[in-house]
Symmetry: C2
Subunit: 449 residues, 2 copies
């Protein structure tokens, strides 16, 4: 392994940033470290973070010594003071040395942002190689970030066309759901009939950590075309529904830290206060995992030899599909035909009304099943679904051909879903989902199953 | 013990504030708890805090279980993942349940202030009865407060006559060193030739946690009369010295949390930036423990029968004292005479030039000894001395008859001390004092010993 001069210097400044106590030297060390870090190659960053994780963790000998003392205490007769004393010492010795670096960076100008970038690096290294010490580093840093980014420390900001261009360019850059094509498009997103709200942290000025785009509507939109209008379809005063059509976070380093939950709650409060006529809060959301799940399911049934194997299609659906698909593809049964049609990257089935029609019934039914019944460790398998359900939403409606974009067809055969936030049920839904994995859904969606 | 309805209600809301997870209910519980707490009698507060300390601390069974697992791991062969996992679990199970209450109050409106009041109560109960569980509660809360009140979270505010009366009345109420007698006096403290700076926390608006009063002077003042002028003695532009003549903290609940250290540093920075001609930063400080130490010392020598007992007076001092004191008091030796003179509450010795003169030499000499050599656990015995030395000051000069007030005569026979902050030595002094207990002093003070 080749160590460059730069690397050694950055490593030294990291050491100083952890071990120095004189404020002037410390500030300089923190600056040196963060500037130096940005100049390192990915490989050198990896080595440095590994050093941090392994060389600056715990004094395990001391931890074990304290534990032995503790276990040696006599519970009923011993002085309680000894318990408190050793517990306190243990709390301290269980803090990794790198906690000092995190704490110091957090109160250093630019430090919180740097920590978020550092965590993004840690996550990308973990994706390549799952090293226990780095995982521990990540989980420690994540807990710290959750504390520092508590809702009490975040400011809700109504983003408008009057905001600085430097902030607005971040919105363009990070909009992850429906890309913003040009300046006019951006102006429309912030114009009449729309709202955009972001969460800002005082230590990361001019850059929302997460933002949400809202469309004011008469009814809950069924397709994305209804939302991405050029001209507002009606005066704002007639709106009765606030539709959250996009939520994007800007910091990969904050992955797994659910800021969206609090943002949605705050936005609902603000919109209700400002526009009392709005009574429905809903999303129009993608279903990113539907096709992946369905195709894997079809393939695994195909591989299964049992004569009792499940048929995902009802008999009448299979008959209709086999009849309509003859011209386009072949297969030894309905499921194989469906698999062939859906996995084609050209999505030819969408160009035939006949095929679309016979596929619609099973695809909508299976989509409801995917959203309401397919779980991983007790939580909804779909990531967007999991996000809204844990925030207290219910599955309100699924919409056929709601997103005909390449991405939409590939992810979910063009289907989108409305999650509904009913103010009076948010906390209850979130709680029953969290504790029992219960997924609330409208009767309309339930009838599919 | 009589439990009142109110007490039970407050105890319930405390329990809810710890155990509830629904935000709406939680906010209400935190409000109920803090409002209810303020309505409790001292005795009920005591019982409630004792309940918190003992019923909401750790699950020690779980802690011991995790420790046994940890000690059972095989260090060289075991998977490191297990270490990280148990360490993480231990960190969580070593957190007392009351941490949740502290964290939640901290992010709740008015909560930080409430926590500071709660800690003031804890400290006053500990002064009455030293219970180990309450001491542990206090030490945990203190650590939390230190984190939340880190300099990064505090705002330096230059307090002026333009500030709201509600803030200025706090200055009048809390000025602990030189009481402010009336509105005119306050206006003078904020007027020409003077400055007043406070540290504010965003969660406790309109009330500085600590503030410092500064006089701009030509030379370092030797007596408090030079500082408490009615009319400024010279234009501000001629000032070369900033004299810190008073520093007061407003929150008894923040006792032991050294905010003054950072405040002094920030004020030095601000004053240097605004008035580059000012090169000396000094205090004119009381010596609160001098007389108490000296009288105890004299009494303990008196009780000692050894013929080799120490004589605090030099032979020529003793001769002079015995000669001059004949008219006023008697005693079998100089030390007994000194003890009699100094412990009289009417301070008659100050009314005789002759007595003052013979006492000055030993009192100044012993004062230098007290400030430079008398220590407790390696730190200066004098509390104000300890405060400035740990902030990086040196003992610059001791001043005879600098504070002739009743309090000044009783505490330190009217002597005051100038601590000097030399910008270039602050960090070094603080460090050598902290690590080796080294007290820096001017040659002038050293010659007394």
């Amino acid at each position: 392994m080749v160590f460059f001069r730069d690397f050694v210097r950055v490593k030294e400044s990291m050491h100083n940033a952890i071990s120095m106590n004189k404020i002037e030297i410390l500030d300089a060390a923190l600056d040196d470290f963060s500037e130096g870090y940005f100049g390192l190659s990915n490989e050198n960053r990896r080595v440095l973070l590994l050093t941090l994780a392994t060389q600056y963790d715990l004094n395990r000998k001391q931890v074990r010594e304290l534990m032995k003392q503790y276990l040696g205490l006599d519970l009923p007769n011993g002085s309680f003071s000894s318990f408190y004393r050793i517990e306190r010492n243990l709390r301290h010795s269980l803090k990794p040395m790198y906690e000092v670096l995190f704490e110091r960076l957090n109160t250093h100008p630019g430090g919180l942002r740097f920590l978020s970038i550092m965590r993004a690096d840690i996550l990308s290294f973990l994706a390549d190689e799952n090293i226990a010490s780095v995982r521990a580093l990540d989980s420690y840093l994540k807990e710290k970030l959750i504390t520092w980014l508590s809702p009490a420390n975040l400011q809700l900001h109504n983003i408008t066309w009057d905001d600085p261009a430097s902030l607005l360019e971040k919105i363009v850059a990070y909009e992850a759901v429906h890309p913003i094509s040009n300046l006019l498009d951006l102006k429309r997103r912030l114009g009449i009939g729309r709202r955009c709200f972001g969460y800002l942290h005082p230590a990361i000025p001019g850059e929302p950590l997460i933002f949400i785009e809202v469309a004011l509507m008469k009814n809950v939109a069924q397709t994305i075309q209804e939302v991405l209008w050029d001209e507002p379809p009606m005066p704002e005063s007639e709106a009765t529904c606030a539709l959250f059509y996009s939520i994007s976070s800007t910091q990969p380093g904050l992955s797994g830290i659910n800021l969206g939950k609090f943002l949605i709650k705050r936005v609902i409060d603000v919109v209700r206060r400002d526009m009392p006529k709005i009574s429905t809060f809903a999303t129009l959301s993608p279903i990113p995992g539907y096709m992946q799940w369905l195709l894997a399911k079809l393939a695994s049934i195909e591989r299964c030899d049992s004569t009792f194997r499940e048929n995902l299609l009802k008999p009448e659906e299979e008959t209709a599909l086999l009849g309509a698909s003859e011209k386009y593809t072949t297969g030894k049964n309905g499921m194989e035909v469906m698999c062939n049609l859906l996995s084609s990257s050209s999505h030819d089935w969408t160009k035939s009304d006949e095929l679309s029609l016979v596929l619609k019934t099973p695809l909508m039914r299976l989509c409801a099943r995917y959203l309401l019944e397919e779980k991983k460790r007790g939580k909804a398998l779909d990531s967007v679904g999991n996000f809204h359900l844990q925030n207290g939403a219910m599955v309100g409606r699924i919409n056929w051909m709601a997103d005909r974009s390449e991405k939409g067809l590939k992810q979910s055969a063009g289907i989108m879903v409305n999650y509904i936030y009913k103010v009076e049920n948010i906390e209850e839904n979130a709680h029953s989902y969290f504790s029992e994995g219960q997924i609330q859904a409208s009767d309309e969606v339930r009838t599919y199953i």
